[in-house]
């Protein structure tokens, strides 16, 4: 991956928008009410270097909304099932901290973040962890690494709306600022909708929305081919 110290990472460039995602895996005890589930914690950061409108300080509304969106996509698409992250029921589970950092903001943050997250998770290799029966402690075997089980591959497509007449796919920052609304559609490989995110903005007819969805499904196929090609090229042997 792109970050050598992380367990999995990916750098995605969509036009000028650059997003890097690093995944770090740690061990923790699972929650009491869901003893067989691990955790995935996404965090999207928009540091002040990526665009002049972001100041340093606590995360702004855009970063928090993006973090919530990524968490929803992971949950809705079931790309990583939390039960797969459990090592020992009620005792030990993996926590995947996914840090998504934008390095250059030129619009369409959500699409780039979803791609970066997917590619980074495909890059992750978790060491085998066993619990020693006598001592009750965990033993980490760094020599034996297994890739994560990724069940679904969601891809996001964003559109900028201009007064219900014009739709632009993959908007730049300038197009986003001038747009009267945005729609982001996340589909998985079966053509199912994982998420329709239309945060306000000018109204859209059902037919227009359907149009966006069909384009999103087409784009998904192209993106999946690209990601598979890249992952194959970096896998050793």
């Amino acid at each position: 991956g792109s970050i050598t110290t992380a367990d999995g990472s990916a750098l995605v460039k969509l036009g000028n928008t650059t997003v890097i995602c690093g995944v770090k895996a740690e061990l923790a005890a699972p929650a009491v009410d869901s003893a067989n589930k691990g955790y995935i914690v996404p965090n999207v950061e928009l540091p002040s270097l990526c665009a002049e409108r972001f100041r340093s300080g606590p995360p702004g509304e855009e970063a928090q909304a993006a973090s919530q969106f990524i968490a929803d996509v992971i949950e809705n698409s079931q790309m990583i099932v939390k039960e797969d992250l459990c090592i020992a029921n009620g005792k030990l589970a993996w926590v995947l901290y996914c840090d998504i950092i934008c390095l250059d903001y030129d619009g369409n943050l959500l699409d780039a973040s979803v791609f970066a997250l997917l590619a980074a998770l495909k890059n992750v290799e978790l060491p085998l962890v066993t619990i020693n029966e006598e001592t009750g402690l965990s033993e980490v075997n760094l020599k034996q690494k297994n890739p994560l089980i990724i069940r679904k591959h969601p891809a996001a497509t964003s559109f900028a709306i201009f007064d219900d007449t014009l739709l632009i796919v993959d908007p730049t920052a300038e197009e986003e600022d001038l747009a009267t609304g945005t729609v982001t559609i996340v589909t998985d490989e079966e053509g199912r909708l994982c998420s329709v995110h239309k945060p306000g903005g000018s109204p859209l007819t059902g037919a227009k929305l359907q149009d966006c969805i069909t384009r999103a499904i087409t784009r998904h196929k192209e993106v999946k081919k690209l990601i598979d090609k890249v992952i194959k090229s970096i896998t050793p042997k």
Binding site: E62, G181, G191, H197, P199, G201, G206
Partner: protein
């Protein structure tokens, strides 16, 4: 609907802080306070959804360099919270007499595992559902102002839910009309 209740308070158009004011339109701000705990990332993303929905209907250009603040306090949550917030927000905008391009209402649809569509689900039904879709429908032409989904569904199912939501929207707008009529009638 049912036991979910949200209290909405609208303040404005009032003087805006220099850092927040926009030169050509009103600056809208939404604060969502959960029933327990401090507002977190989920509240922030909901605030963003509500804010952009309201910005689409409020004629902000009539009040430049002002601030309109909408504060929503969750009193009880028994399912369909986001649509309850949307409805509360719209009624607050109506009550304040702000110039609006259209009214909007929030409708939640739950897709059950067997494929039936349930409108305005309770918390129990939401948990059992395969997918939950929330739409904000505009009164002028029943177009979609805001859409957000939780869980995955097929495209046809989404269209069916959207059609059901548009039909249900008429009932909610009738309720708005009746409430406003009651408020302003001589009594």
């Amino acid at each position: 609907p049912g036991d979910t209740s949200v209290l909405a308070g609208l303040y404005g158009p009032a003087e805006a802080k220099l850092s927040k004011e926009l030169p050509d339109r009103a600056a809208l701000e939404v604060l969502l306070r959960p029933k327990v705990g401090l507002p977190g990332v989920l509240e922030r993303s909901r605030e963003q959804l509500l804010r952009q929905t309201c910005e689409a209907v409020v004629l902000g250009v009539l009040h430049p360099r002002t601030a309109i603040s909408l504060v929503l306090q969750v009193l009880s949550d028994a399912g369909s919270l986001l649509s309850c917030c949307l409805n509360a927000a719209c009624m607050a905008l109506l009550d304040a007499g702000l110039p609006l391009a259209a009214l909007f209402c929030g409708v939640t649809c739950a897709l059950q595992p067997d494929g039936t569509i349930l409108l305005d689900p309770t918390a129990r039904q939401e948990q059992e559902a395969r997918a939950i879709l929330t739409f904000a429908i505009a009164s002028s032409d029943r177009k979609v102002l805001m859409a957000t989904t939780k869980g995955s569904c097929s495209v046809e199912e989404m269209q069916q839910c959207l059609a059901a939501a548009q039909r249900a929207a008429s009932t909610v707008f009738q309720f708005y009309r009746d409430s406003v009529r009651r408020r302003y009638s001589k009594s």
